[in-house]
Symmetry: C2
Subunit: 417 residues, 2 copies
Amino acid sequence: MITAMNKEIIPDNWYNVVPDLPEPLAPPRDSKSDISSINLLNKILPKEVLKQEFTFKRYEKIPDEVMEAYEQIGRPTPLIRAKNLEKKLGYSGKIYYKYEGATATGSHKINTAIPQAYYAMKEGVKGVTTETGAGQWGSATALAASLYGLPSQIFMVKISFEQKPLRKTVMNLYNGNVVASPSTLTAYGRKILKEHPDTPGTLGIGISEAVEYALDNDYRYMVASVMNVSLTHQSVIGQETKKQLELIGEHADVLIGCVGGGSNFGGFTFPFIPDGDDTEIIATTANEVPKFSKGDYKYDLMDSAGILPQVRMYSLGADFVPPTIYAGGLRYHGASPSLSLLINKGRIKSDEVTEEEVKEALRTFANTQGIIAAPESGHAIASAIKYVKAHINEKKTIVVNVSGHGYLDLSIFGEKK
Amino acid sequence: MITAMNKEIIPDNWYNVVPDLPEPLAPPRDSKSDISSINLLNKILPKEVLKQEFTFKRYEKIPDEVMEAYEQIGRPTPLIRAKNLEKKLGYSGKIYYKYEGATATGSHKINTAIPQAYYAMKEGVKGVTTETGAGQWGSATALAASLYGLPSQIFMVKISFEQKPLRKTVMNLYNGNVVASPSTLTAYGRKILKEHPDTPGTLGIGISEAVEYALDNDYRYMVASVMNVSLTHQSVIGQETKKQLELIGEHADVLIGCVGGGSNFGGFTFPFIPDGDDTEIIATTANEVPKFSKGDYKYDLMDSAGILPQVRMYSLGADFVPPTIYAGGLRYHGASPSLSLLINKGRIKSDEVTEEEVKEALRTFANTQGIIAAPESGHAIASAIKYVKAHINEKKTIVVNVSGHGYLDLSIFGEKK
């Protein structure tokens, strides 16, 4: 049982945008001819997660145990009016921010890690496994597994494992087992290590290792983003935001979020889709990863290794490598199929911001609102500031999703450009 | 105007324990014979802060602008039932934690920094200044000053300045000017640098520099802890906790907090004092800083340099140097006079925990509740776990103050003891 006050704000159901899309979603395709990557999903995902990935149902009841875990990790997260920022910008409209950095793991990732680990536990598996880059997803996976008494095996891209030792510390504090990938724990990892002993690792290698580890050890694979089920779980963000706005008598004229794979963005904005077109929705990417303006809308690999199925999405190509690494969570080459479709149909607009705009926005947000936001979330803030400056005389209500805090990314302010 | 929902929980007034103490508080004394340190306070503190330091009034109205700033930086902070921790400990009672780590600067320090900077701004001064050790207080000062458009000059103990560059980054993001102390900005700093060029610096040197800087530049000095006014401002913590408990129909049987100078502890527990004796209150220190068990209750210097007045308190001696530095905020040699009196009269009990117990408690709290608590707050959690184990069959409601998060202290888990 959660408290009455929280029950008023945390939704009872997850919202799935699929039935409300302007046209049916293109189905996933096998990535390789010799092995069915769609059949593979049957083996590596908990049954309930697989069901939710392909469902056409608009609502899915959140199990009581998951509801309670959401409350334990800090939900509902706050929706705060950024009065100091408004003043600094000389804006006569309103700016609100939803702060997912207030969750226990410091980002939105925990919202889908919890139900995935819960369903894995219910199905009696031995543990959960996944890959992680910068470590946000690995942290969420480790904590979620710990909450349900499951071990977790996390394959962390080797270069990040070496450069971000504190993320490893966090995962260890959450009872996670973390190895640098490629590792000696899998045949695939050992093969790569033999052929390329000095490789920095990639997310593709990490996914391959996690999938092999899941198959060999009766573990289940945890899905970070891109796939529909993760966006559905993240819908707690947008549903809470709607309820919080309703309680203070506000209506969102503009929603702005950042896009890596699309899970914080979809979770934040999709619950507003069935309400009609009077809320403007803006998806912001890094200037260096211009998936919506320069990517193609096509079938492409979800992961560079081609383990997971192909999906139809905006993509810069699965082998795309952006130039800088200051916002690790936004480096992904594509975007969730449902988000891609809504962009393609013009319901959601896109924006791009530069590293310089992001750093300036992070500084401004810190010295006005006090929040040290994650570099990824800094893109949403920078985009909101751009919007305000371009519409300074309009009195709109803008809501920005600040998807995580940046306490473990402070080093970006120490470097010279 | 703050929102109705928050107005229900954030108190309208600060609570001052002085009129409710079992006997009058011993007055402060000058520390040196040649200069009146009490007169000095008149010159370096905002008038309103000085008035609140020596008031006998039970309640002081929180100005609307401060109320609004409290909301902006994340008040009310959450009170969460630690169900996963209860389960892990096999406790049939209840454990709640109040989470001050959820404020924008990540600790309770901002609760008094805001009103002090506000009063300084109202009085038209040029800026604010203070000393900081690990950097938590400096961060709170910098943000509070930024919120009211004031510059801040922060003297950071040189060894910490060098060892904790990320804290400096945070202060800079909050518009704070930070220098290593001793610095060349003051005559006192230049003198020390000439005599001891390799000194690691001390809080005493930092205080001396900040006081000189305030006097020479029409700045005001910001008081971190120990002095009564800071505990009064921190009473928002305990008053919110009482209200939040009331809203869910709970009564606190036991309150546990950690003690450095006493501000988070006093702020959390003192609002329960006028309600009578049926709430047990426990003040926990580090085993290495046994001020209540091995200190004397006597007049002693507040700061090693003897700049500020002497007060009657439990003290290990102003030149006490604890052996380890893993919890910088608990290294202080004394404790606030009002807290010391309540300990001396037996109304508040004390406890001590070891570094090993603290690290274990931090791990347990992380992998059950997901919160990476500050090492200082880890002492309160460790003490609560000890209490539960010693009273495993009682069904009490225990409330712990988790005064800050530990994202910038993760390195303590990397070191070998």
